[in-house]
């Protein structure tokens, strides 16, 4: 499956890019994050992140579809 990842804040710094196309066997958000955390050295555990797929918040067990846009959101600090 092909996924489009967007990265923000410290995840963007760790990945060294704001977005990327990924080909992966991962079928849900949790498995995809584990794979990307290992590749990019992300230190956040999933309980500190939120997940969004195609522009909407969802949960870690969300079943991914080909060409989904997936974002792992670190703790926010607006204001």
């Amino acid at each position: 499956m092909n996924y489009r990842l967007l990265y923000f804040a410290s995840l963007c710094d760790a990945a060294g890019r704001a977005e990327e196309q990924v080909t992966s066997d991962a079928r849900d958000a949790r498995a995809l994050y584990a794979e990307l955390a290992a590749r990019h050295g992300f230190t956040f555990t999933p309980d500190r992140l939120r997940v969004a797929v195609n522009g909407a918040f969802t949960d870690w067990n969300h079943r991914l579809a080909d060409n989904d846009e997936v974002v792992f959101l670190p703790p926010v600090s607006g204001g």
Binding site: L6, F8, A9, S10, C12, D13, F44, R48, R50, A52, G55, A56, F57, V71, L73, P74, P75, V76, S77, G78, G79
Partner: protein
């Protein structure tokens, strides 16, 4: 109304957007860039947003405030990009028939925006380094 803005926030224009004949009270909150945080001297901030989702979540918060409080108009705008000391980072304004609802709704909007909307702050410290803030719990 909720928006993410790359341009400086035009407070006067936003205040006019709260005009309503039934509005006997207007409460506005400005969050500004401060020169310190947790004991470190700060000389600027950069904000980044996941704009698509931030605007959806921000509009949801405004809708929630409309349903919870007796208010006329609600507007909230959050800056992104590089900000200097004193710049307005976030602005929330509410007009209502009476002041209690205006205060409560304004407080609700700014608290929820800070807790939920996907926006991140990078602090630039006077000593030369900068760091993204990822608080463990809801911001103070």
């Amino acid at each position: 109304m909720f928006a993410i803005s790359e341009a400086p926030i035009d407070v006067v224009r936003l205040q006019h957007g709260l005009d309503a004949d039934g509005a006997g009270a207007v409460v506005c909150f400005e969050g500004r860039v401060r020169n310190y945080n947790e004991g470190r001297a700060v000389n600027g901030l950069s904000y980044q947003a996941y704009v698509e989702l931030a605007e959806v979540e921000g509009r949801r918060i405004v809708e929630e405030a409309h349903s919870r409080f007796e208010v006329e108009r609600i507007s909230c705008v959050h800056r992104v990009g590089d900000l200097a000391l004193g710049d307005v980072a976030v602005w929330a304004g509410v007009s209502a028939g009476h002041r209690a609802a205006a205060f409560e709704a304004c407080r609700y909007v700014i608290d929820e925006v800070k807790a939920r909307v996907p926006i991140w702050k990078r602090e630039h410290y006077v000593e030369g380094v900068s760091e993204w803030l990822h608080p463990d719990s809801a911001p103070k």
